[in-house]
């Protein structure tokens, strides 16, 4: 599936806000909510991404116009998986009492989603592309 390149940036901005709030409030509930959001996008695909759907709604409502460019969903979807794993492990640490490590992992996701929102650089997507290249080299 091809997606609007602005979508992941919007999603990253919301993710950054949600996780920053979770950290400041030390809210496991907010963190768990974000982990669930990551999980849905990762498992079901970006068509079902909660923030992606908000973005689509806003595009229509605010008349944001057609996509300046599209990209295959595979890179961004892989990034959702990585974000979900990192935030999920963070949540597990926090729930088991190791809140220092737990919230540190959450802050990693905060930093990377801020980077994506600000510049469009998707580190997870680059890792995905690298992985694809290495996999092809291995098979060749």
């Amino acid at each position: 599936m091809e997606i609007d390149v602005r979508g992941p940036r919007f999603g990253a901005a919301v993710t950054c806000l949600v996780l920053s709030a979770a950290f400041l409030l030390r809210s496991e509930a907010l963190l768990a909510f974000q982990v669930a959001v990551f999980a849905v996008s990762s498992v079901a695909g970006l068509r079902w991404s909660p923030y992606g759907n908000v973005f689509r709604f806003l595009k229509r409502r605010l008349n944001l116009g057609p996509p300046p460019a599209t990209e295959p969903e595979s890179g961004p979807r892989f990034s959702q998986t990585l974000g979900g794993l990192c935030a999920g492990v963070g949540l597990a640490f926090v729930l088991s009492g190791a809140s220092g490590i737990g919230w540190a992992l959450v802050l990693v996701v905060v930093a990377l989603s801020a980077l994506l929102a600000l510049t469009g650089l998707c580190v997870g997507c680059e890792l995905y592309a690298l992985g694809q290249r290495l996999r092809r080299q291995g098979a060749a």
């Binding site: 920053s20 950290f23 400041l24 460019a69 595979s74 980077l115 694809q132 290249r133 092809r136």
Partner: protein, 134 residues
């Protein structure tokens, strides 16, 4: 208050990284003249005596369409600039030979088949023309 400080530092680091990225992305970097190599020359079919712009792409590359457009614009204007694309997925060995780590990557090749500059990211048309004229 401590948490606000920690979050601020994390976001400041992210912003700093963002600024570094914006500067490096799409910047035309001059390189020590390296011969293009017979393998690449044969694969792409660079005509002798013409400068060339080689665009390395991948199947999932988001900005390659934009890079392609810039290259078309530059070749359309100057005339006599050969533009070609190399899919890293189909030709991984060539990509490795030229140490291509990202897509889009553009190699600026002069009329004597020497690589003069490279760009990681979408280049600016004016920067490319300047590199070709050098």
């Amino acid at each position: 208050m401590n948490d606000v400080l920690i979050l601020s530092v994390v976001l400041a680091v992210a912003v700093a990284a963002a600024m570094v990225w914006q500067r490096l992305n799409g910047r035309v970097v001059e390189v020590e003249h390296l011969d293009l190599g017979a393998r690449t020359r044969d694969l792409v079919g660079v005509p002798a005596g013409l400068p060339a712009l080689l665009l390395f792409t991948t199947p999932t590359c988001r900005d390659c369409a934009a890079a392609r457009a810039v290259l078309s614009a530059v070749s359309g204007r100057g005339g006599g600039v050969f533009v070609a694309e190399i899919d890293v997925a189909t030709h991984p060995a060539i990509a490795r030979e030229h140490k291509v780590l990202r897509a889009p990557t553009v190699l600026v090749v002069d009329a004597a088949d020497a690589i003069r500059a490279r760009v990681s990211g979408v280049p600016d048309a004016a920067d490319l023309e300047q590199a070709l004229a050098a």
